[in-house]
């Protein structure tokens, strides 16, 4: 087990390296650099910056150096000092801006995964055990809709209905009095009270997919001889289903975490924009629109790393759940 985990962690390193390169390329892509954008920002306020000042700015941030050197400086800053560079729109270090939002994004995704499991588990089992029943058909149909409708459209429609029938709209992740408050038990409770609805909407697509996979897997398992043996030996029906076949069919629950996480984080960005959630979404969007590239690149990097780590955790969980995986 230990060697498996070690191997997986080693395999993660090239992925993380690639992710950092992609994030850096995105920083470099727009025409001009940090200094020209900075000066353009100052010029918009009426300040005129001399050529010398521009050059010294470039020298300060090492913008005259080759791209590879810049990359290693950026990465070096992140790895040694946790320094992600500076956001030129906010005139603040990137790390001061992103962490709370990153945590909220993670919490949103995590709660979303938990809700996905909670919902998909009973429905998947029901659909498989009562195959072709009316309930099965209804859930299958709902599943098709769940996969086809993006979360942000669901959110828009829900918000409109809320507005129409209740006259107010749930948005944000905190009540007014907690928005700027320090973390406390009351604030966490307030967060959870706001978090479940966006998390549920965000998880719809994944839930539908998981129900489909669980149903198909469980159907395969239920036809196997050992289930018949269990029934023949007089095991109660619930035990004959829940004890072994469901456990076998559960693998996708853990393994899909790997691909659900990227799509959840992707979806959360648009959903946050619509529902006005203080996660990475709106900040990333604004930083991209204003070409605040260190901020944008750092967020893309951190989100990618978080996803890769989440995938790693899901792989390890899977290996714990099913020992056969380790030897593949």
């Amino acid at each position: 087990m230990r060697s498996y985990i070690l191997r997986r962690i080693l395999a993660m390193i090239p992925t993380l390296f690639l992710a950092s390169i992609v994030a850096f390329v995105i920083i470099q892509l727009p025409p001009g650099d940090f200094a020209t954008a900075y000066v353009a920002g100052l010029a918009a306020n009426g300040d005129i910056v001399s050529q010398e000042a521009l050059e010294s700015l470039r020298a300060d941030y090492g913008l005259n150096e080759p791209v590879a050197v810049q990359y290693f400086k950026w990465m070096g800053g992140i790895l040694t000092r946790g320094d992600y560079g500076i956001s030129f729109e906010h005139r603040e270090p990137v790390s001061a801006l992103i962490w709370e939002r990153i945590w909220l994004t993670m919490w949103l995704s995590l709660v979303s995964v938990l809700l996905t499991w909670l919902i998909a588990f009973p429905i998947g089992i029901y659909s498989a055990v009562r195959q072709y029943s009316a309930g099965d058909y209804i859930f299958t149909l709902i599943g098709f809709f769940g996969v086809s409708i993006p979360a942000f459209l669901v959110a828009l429609v829900l918000m409109y209905l809320q507005f129409k029938y209740f006259g107010k709209v749930a948005s944000g992740l905190f009540s007014d009095e907690f928005v700027a408050a320090a973390w406390s038990w009351a604030r966490i409770q307030d967060l959870l009270a706001h978090l479940w609805l966006p998390a549920l909407i965000l998880g719809l697509g994944g839930t539908a997919e998981l129900i489909r996979i669980l149903r198909a897997n469980l159907l395969d398992e239920l036809r196997k001889p050992y289930v018949i043996t269990a029934r023949a030996k007089g095991l109660p029906e619930w035990k004959a289903i829940l004890k072994y076949p469901v456990r076998m069919a559960l693998n996708p629950f853990v393994s899909t975490l790997g691909w659900i996480l990227p799509s959840l984080i992707s979806g959360s960005i648009i959903l946050s924009q619509v529902m006005n959630l203080p996660t990475t979404g709106p900040l990333l969007l604004r930083s991209l629109q204003s070409q605040d590239m260190y901020l944008a690149g750092s967020m893309i990097l951190v989100l990618s790393v978080a996803t890769v780590i989440g995938t790693l955790v899901s792989d390890i969980l899977l290996a714990l759940l099913d020992p056969r995986i380790r030897y593949q």
């Binding site: 727009p30 828009l156 429609v157 409109y160 648009i270």
Partner: protein
């Protein structure tokens, strides 16, 4: 000989199914696929819906009653005018009621009331704005529209600039439905090329390409797309933006197609007919394109169909965020951008109608792809 089989066993089979079976044995592959596909009712219905949607895209300007770019400052945010019909003697036939606008003195907001005294008749084969049918014939003929083109007939309401939402939605069908096709085409080229190398040659190439696919699938796609889309210069012309967006979408979209192609290549590589072709001295391109590709075209078509909705949704999402296509280009995502916050939805809920078009086409493509996937391998029972 089989005639020696014991006669005592009663055979419930009659002759008719055997005839059907004989038909099955001689039928070409495409026929088997069609027979199996026909059984999937939802897929059949979806196929018809999709044909209709693409017809709408083809004849969009003929179907749109108004010029989609035409603004009208009198009719900002006009609610949908419902259609009435009265075919009596001297009656207008199909018509809508006019609207009168008043400015609410307190809220300073323009409000519209339906005015039953004004009747605006609608006319089939009416004349309206000028366009080129199929890009060739210059005409101003439209399927329907107000008999007097200057009168308002906003069947789905108007947007913030007083443009007709119905016309814009019809015109948006073109971009939204084609971007999926073009994007999937790029993904397909990449997917077949890289997946083919991966599956046919195997070894270290396979390892490298598989790691690349793993990597692309493990990072969240929307932030990546957003980053790439944001790097597009603002002064780019609409066509280049459209092209760039499709390329950006297919940069990640190819991975799932490559997986399918690789899996098929791996399983076919060991088949007898491939070995036979190789021993016969067929060249590698001939083995790949003449012998192997036809054996899994149906699988590829099914995967393509299932990949298009993802592309459509991605374009919608990007444009919705303001990072994708931009005005004056009209796509469903661009239209939904107007419905981005609760304030605009509260004043003009009809701005959400393009979402229905998105959902219907995506659902239809998913059902169609599902049916095609089931039918792709007609030899399994």
């Amino acid at each position: 000989m089989t005639t020696e089989a014991p006669q005592s066993i009663p055979t419930p089979r009659v002759e008719a199914p055997r005839e059907v079976e004989a038909q099955v044995f001689v039928a070409p592959q495409w026929k088997l696929v069609w027979w199996k596909f026909r059984k999937h009712k939802m897929a059949m219905v979806s196929g018809v819906i999709l044909i209709l949607i693409y017809l709408v895209a083809l004849f969009a300007d003929f179907l749109a009653p108004f010029d989609p770019g035409l603004t009208n400052s009198t009719y900002l945010y006009v609610p949908p005018q419902s259609i009435h019909a009265d075919f009596g003697e001297g009656k207008p036939g199909v018509y809508v009621y006019g609207v009168t606008s008043t400015v609410d003195p307190v809220a300073l907001r323009r409000e519209f009331t339906i005015d039953p005294s004004q009747v605006i008749p609608l006319k089939f084969w009416g004349r309206g704005w000028e366009y080129k049918l199929l890009g060739i014939f210059k005409t101003n003929l439209h399927l329907f529209g107000p008999a007097d083109p200057a009168q308002p007939a906003y069947l789905l309401g108007a947007d913030r600039l007083g443009r007709d939402l119905l016309s814009r939605m019809i015109m948006g069908t073109r971009i939204s439905m084609s971007i999926g096709l073009v994007g999937v085409f790029f993904s397909l080229v990449l997917g077949i090329f890289l997946g083919g190398i991966s599956g046919y040659y195997g070894g270290s190439w396979d390892q490298l390409i598989q790691r690349l696919i793993d990597f692309l699938r493990s990072i969240p796609s929307i932030p990546l797309w957003m980053g790439l889309a944001a790097a597009m210069p603002l002064q780019w012309p609409a066509q280049r933006v459209y092209f760039a967006i499709t390329v950006i979408l297919s940069l990640i979209g190819w991975t799932s197609l490559a997986r399918v192609v690789r899996g098929r290549f791996l399983s076919l590589r060991e088949e007898d007919f491939v070995t036979a072709a190789r021993l016969d001295g067929a060249s590698q391109p001939r083995i790949i394109f003449r012998h192997m590709l036809p054996a899994f075209t149906s699988h590829i078509i099914a995967s393509i169909t299932l990949a298009i909705p993802g592309m459509i949704l991605s374009e919608t999402s990007l444009s919705f965020l303001g990072l994708g296509l931009r005005e004056p280009v009209v796509s469903w995502g661009v239209l939904l951008q107007d419905a981005q916050d609760i304030r605009s939805i509260a004043t003009a809920p009809w701005l959400l109608i393009p979402a229905i078009a998105v959902v219907v086409s995506v659902l239809a493509l998913n059902f169609l792809g599902d049916g095609l996937r089931d039918a792709a391998d007609p030899y399994t029972r």
